[in-house]
């Protein structure tokens, strides 16, 4: 790095790193340390604050309160929490399918259904991985988080507006409004349960905004996966309003709930 004439040759970084490494300061480093208002403040820990016993009592009380199923789930190793989340997602999708299975595959080829389920599954996996990332790991980049959120909201829209068979596009137009509402509710239920499951598995109980946002988007994807195995409609308007909006609705609803909860706290 360039230095101005007459200015100390070394930076605080060099002095600090020398101290951390446990090696004695060179003459130039010692000269810098003596003239620098920062380095002359002493070594790390020199003016550390002394916490009171009261603070430890509060922590001890928190730790003693960590009992029950939720606490056990949150304390599981992260790879196990990830597996639990995926098992729950699968259970929700399969469970809703068993309750009301898809009555026809006619308008949609099996290849298309497979493609949709694989795409949704991959996105759910990425979102679960990001949402359950432990706090001791460096945070993921904002670009990755926002990209995943955007993909989670837009991929269902993309599938909705690109029906595989145009001649079936207006298949259920007469009863569309009722069908939209029923499908929305049918998909939103497993979606909400997915959000709840991730909240239980999240070690901060969704105090972190990104984890909450990701969970809501993941809920939309889980709901869409369940609907894929339930609803045979390929009408773009039905898919757009009844399926693809679940993610956005969960994001808005969960945001409102969290805002109210935070305000109350």
């Amino acid at each position: 790095m360039n230095r101005m004439p007459g200015v100390a040759e070394l930076d605080c970084v060099d002095v600090r790193e020398a101290l951390f490494a446990g090696r004695p300061l060179s003459a130039a480093e010692a000269e810098h340390a003596a003239s620098c208002p920062i380095c002359s403040q002493g070594l790390p820990g020199g003016d550390a604050l002394s916490p009171s016993a009261e603070l430890f009592s509060a922590i001890e009380s928190d730790v003693r309160g960590e009992t029950g199923l939720v606490a056990r789930l949150r304390s599981l190793p992260t790879p196990v929490r990830l597996v639990v989340a995926i098992v729950i997602t699968t259970f929700l999708a399969v469970g809703t399918t068993l309750v009301r299975p898809r009555w026809a595959f006619g308008p949609l080829p099996v290849e298309r259904v497979t493609l949709v389920l694989v795409a949704l599954g991959v996105l759910v996996w990425v979102i679960v991985w990001l949402a359950l990332r432990p706090l001791q790991a460096a945070p993921p980049s904002r670009r990755l988080v926002l990209g995943s959120v955007a993909a989670g909201l837009l991929v269902p829209v993309l599938f909705a507006v690109t029906p595989p068979n145009a001649e079936h596009a207006g298949l259920d137009a007469p009863g569309m409004a009722k069908g939209v509402v029923l499908c929305f509710l049918f998909g939103a239920l497993p979606g909400a349960l997915f959000v709840l499951a991730l909240r239980v598995l999240d070690r901060t109980a969704h105090r972190t905004a990104d984890a909450a946002l990701l969970a809501a988007v993941g809920g939309g994807l889980a709901g869409n996966a369940a609907l894929e195995m339930h609803c045979p409609s390929v009408a773009p308007m039905h898919l757009l309003l009844g399926h693809a909006t679940i993610g956005l609705a969960l994001v808005l609803a969960y945001r409102a709930i969290r805002t109210r909860t935070t305000a109350r706290d």
Partner: protein
């Protein structure tokens, strides 16, 4: 004396006294780091409390060979980042940095308070990325490679932030800076 990692292993094995020892060892520096960035002492205290609760919840992630200190400080930094995001505010000048208003912190000498306040203000003036690095490197005594790991940036990026941050602080404190601005 047991190392941090031995204490953590003991705590995982059920030795609750080891947790107290980890608290005694790391909470002073964590409190200092937090109080240099938060206006209200009770918020700093709350974040330290949350950090140790998260350490407890994460205990089963801890593996042999891992270092505890980067773990603990990464948790603390993530919680602090979320605190600012949730509150929708930037780190502020540490107006209540002197420890006189916080029952959780033992009082310090007058000269120490004045020097600490000046440094605290200089630190508070830095851009957030530089402040985070300087806080960990200077206040917490964490070597730069570990800082890089904690903030999720490359070592070279963290070095640049540190050099620029220290230079800006030296200028603010009336000492020599260098030509590279912030």
């Amino acid at each position: 004396m047991r190392t941090d990692e031995e204490l953590m292993a003991a705590y995982i094995g059920g030795d609750s006294a080891a947790f107290r020892e980890l608290f005694d060892r790391h909470s002073p520096i964590l409190l200092r780091v937090m109080r240099h960035q938060l206006r209200r002492p009770e918020d700093a205290r709350d974040l330290v409390q949350q950090t140790f609760l998260q350490l407890h919840r994460s205990r089963n992630d801890f593996r042999e060979g891992a270092q505890l200190r980067p773990w603990l400080f990464t948790i603390a930094m993530n919680l602090k980042r979320e605190y600012f995001r949730r509150a929708g505010r930037r780190p502020e000048s540490p107006l209540e940095l002197d420890g006189r208003t916080d029952p959780a912190v033992a009082p310090r000498g007058h000269e120490q308070l004045e020097a600490s306040d000046e440094l605290g203000f200089a630190l508070a003036e830095l851009p957030e990325e530089q402040r985070e690095v300087i806080t960990l490197h200077w206040l917490a005594g964490v070597p730069l490679p570990d800082v890089a790991q904690m903030v999720g940036a490359s070592l070279s990026a963290v070095k640049v932030r540190a050099h620029r941050g220290y230079a800006a602080m030296r200028r603010a404190l009336g000492g020599p800076g260098n030509s590279e601005g912030t």
